[in-house]
């Protein structure tokens, strides 16, 4: 393995959050690597880990790269960690979906779409840091505007928001 690739692999391994290309460029400044040179090596690593079929793979999430265990192993790892997955209620999940697709969005709009008060699910989402306030709308009352967070991308294994299926795609899926 070429040394640069090994360094990149090490950086991603040691990083606690998804490591962005920018951070890698910055860290490896002395080597004067282009983003493309780094991307190629990361792609190679991703392929290698994929082919290896081991316990974990390299994934692109939330604008960075991160090692994650294979989903097939979830039962074992949950047992090791002694955690039960923190399940979101349907109400919270629907609220989250609306915010994800309609952001930046005010609470009143979310409530109009769900047809019901969303105070509680919204609070849960804020507490779980899946959603955050991104500002205030310049209308009377200055209501809060909400949007999704980086953590939202991390939790739902998304590279970025554009990876969310479009409404049209969703329709095809349910057909």
């Amino acid at each position: 393995m070429d040394e640069t690739k090994a360094i990149i692999e090490g950086l991603i391994f040691a990083s606690e959050t998804p490591l962005s290309i920018d951070r890698i460029v910055e860290t490896l400044q002395e080597r004067n690597l282009s983003r493309q040179e780094i991307t190629i090596r990361i792609q190679e690593l991703m392929t290698e880990y994929g082919l290896r079929g081991g316990g974990f793979c390299l994934h692109e999430v939330a604008g960075g790269y991160q090692f994650r265990t294979r989903p097939e192993l979830s039962a074992w790892i949950a047992k090791l960690k002694g955690i039960r997955p923190a399940v979101l209620t349907t109400a919270a999940l629907e609220t989250l979906a609306i915010i994800a697709y309609r952001q930046p969005v005010v609470k009143a709009e979310v409530e109009r779409l769900r047809g019901v008060d969303v105070s509680r699910p919204l609070r849960t989402l804020l507490e779980r840091k899946l959603v955050r306030m991104v500002g205030r709308k310049d209308v009377p009352g200055k209501p809060m505007i909400y949007g999704t967070t980086r953590k939202f991308l991390e939790v739902f294994s998304l590279k970025d928001l554009s990876e969310l299926p479009t409404m049209g795609e969703l329709k095809d899926l349910t057909k």
Binding site: G82, I83, A86, V87, L93, E94, R114, F156, S157
Partner: protein, 243 residues
Amino acid sequence: MDYEVKLDIFEGPLDLLLYLIKKNELDIYNIPIALITKQYLEYIDILKTLNLDLAGEYLVLAATLVHIKSKLLLPEPPEEGEEEADPRQELVQQLLEYQEFKNASQSLQAREVLERDVFIRGAAPVETPPPDDDDRHMWQEIGLFELVDAFRQVLGNLGQPELMEIDLDRTSLADRINEIMDQLRGRQSLTFAELLDGQRERRRVIHTLLAVLELVKQRMIRICQAGPFGVIRLFLAVEEEHG
């Protein structure tokens, strides 16, 4: 009559309406308002008789349905436009939009969710290196405040309780006291962090605090801290007699 009312499955009036449409295999673009209004109102009645806290939104939609029904029944005023919009249209639009977001939420749920399907490398907080255990003179006995403060931190780290939980773990305080004593007999001393290692349940953490307080009161253990804000460690107050 046999109603399959499962309350928690309805996420609001729109959800109930969608459910009724699906149940009756109706065309969402051509909802028979009379039928659906009747069924919707029946459900609302049941919800009321069950004495459930009915959200106002359910009643608003009921009113909307009745309103649409009456509009459909009344002959159109002749002078007003040729193309009178279908009074159901707005509701249909709302239902379709809601259905889309329901789909979207299901597709989110179907993704590889962190800490449910996939996991990242365990990033436990870096522990302070264990202090020199042999030198007990370094340890100072601490007061209640330091102890409570340490517990407060632990409780704070637990974060918000997830949903409602019916606690089946009926560990008594006495059990917890015995557990701690057993742990201590095996190891002579325990750090505070070890004592609470992996404890996620608020109730259990609180039991642990009460157990520790009780043990101190009974003079069975001593609690010491390595300097201000240092590691807190529990010691057996009396060395166990051999044999």
